[in-house]
């Protein structure tokens, strides 16, 4: 265990937790309203740790959908993690033991992925950093859900505090960090355009985030055409 790395990971998770706070609170409130107990809502955040997926579950439950529908939708939404996890492999190889790396990948989300990848551009990954970043982000998600389920509708509107922009602001900043080659700019812009176009043509993909998966695969492939 490297203390400094662990600390750095925890430090880097602070903006993520800030972004999760309003989302986790809202999930707790919604889950409670739909008939899940405080224990169930909190445990769901602990076991699943998938913001988009959990919101989809609530939506389908509200509409009276089947469990199978919820699981299928979540399967689709979480397919993007296959790409994330695979793209981390070249970094983790030889630096983080496989078993530990796999276990810590439980905490892989859009946000922890983006923060970790931007860190690994400069520093080699360590299990301690991964633990600090992923576990504290996970904890933040679970605790904000618990808080939401406990406080229920006593919470006012967190939009007022501007926290709704925490995650977009993080994506914007990490995007800036990730861009190092001309091809990266091209790939990011193509992905953005593709993702919105697919979302327009097939609105269902906006809900299951399939537009993100298709746009990512196509844009990354287009990047191969570049020579830099």
């Amino acid at each position: 265990m490297q203390k400094q790395e662990l600390k750095q990971g925890i430090h880097d998770s602070i903006p993520i937790i800030l972004g999760y706070l309003p989302l986790g609170l809202a999930f707790g409130v919604l889950a409670n309203e739909i008939g899940m107990s405080i224990v169930q809502a909190t445990l769901m955040s602990f076991l699943c740790f998938t913001g988009a997926g959990q919101y989809i579950a609530i939506g389908i439950m509200q509409a009276g959908g089947a469990v199978f529908t919820i699981i299928t939708a979540n399967f689709l939404v979480n397919l993007r993690y296959l790409l994330f996890s695979a793209s981390m492999v070249p970094y983790l190889k030889g630096r983080v033991p496989t078993a530990l790396g796999s276990l810590l990948s439980y905490g892989l989300t859009d946000e922890t992925y983006a923060v970790a990848m931007s860190r690994y551009q400069k520093y080699p990954p360590t299990a301690s950093y991964m633990a600090g970043l992923n576990l504290s982000s996970h904890m933040g998600w679970v605790l904000s859900t618990l808080l939401g389920a406990l406080l229920g509708s006593y919470l006012g509107n967190t939009e007022r505090l501007g926290l709704g922009f925490a995650l977009p602001a993080m994506y914007i900043c990490l995007l800036v960090f990730m861009i190092k080659r001309k091809s990266d700019v091209f790939v990011a812009l193509s992905a953005a355009v593709l993702c919105l176009t697919i979302g327009c043509l097939a609105p269902a993909t906006m809900g299951n985030l399939f537009n993100v998966i298709i746009a990512t695969v196509v844009a990354a492939s287009l990047g191969m055409l570049f020579n830099d």
Binding site: P15, C48, V89, Y113, Y171, V187, C195, L196, C200, A220
Partner: protein, 107 residues
């Protein structure tokens, strides 16, 4: 909604959300990826962030909303400039959140 429905749902969702994160790391770390695949994978992060940025700013509520009334577009501009200028996640987040709070309360 029955208790068993909820528990079954929670367990099912947890399986399909954990496996895609863990399996690639668990299975592939022992192999050396060929160079072209490594290059392709190196584009995944910029592509994902490009998509997520576009969606979170232009479709903050789940539908595409390219309008001057979309506060997220206005907050995007100072946040992007701060990110480029300071290269600090902290300042970018601060500027983004404060801009959003101001827009929400005063516009």
């Amino acid at each position: 909604m029955t208790e068993s429905y909820i528990w079954f749902m929670i367990i099912g969702v947890s399986i399909v959300s954990i496996l895609p994160r863990i399996l690639p790391v668990a299975l592939f770390t022992r192999f050396e990826f060929p160079e072209p695949l490594k290059r392709w994978l190196s584009f995944i992060a910029p592509a994902v962030l490009g998509s997520l940025t576009a969606l979170s700013v232009l479709a903050p509520d789940g539908f595409i909303y390219p309008s001057i009334h979309n506060r997220y577009i206005w907050a995007f501009i100072p946040t992007l400039l701060t990110a480029i200028k300071t290269r600090s996640l902290f300042y970018s987040l601060l500027v983004g959140i404060v801009t959003m709070a101001l827009l929400y309360n005063f516009f």
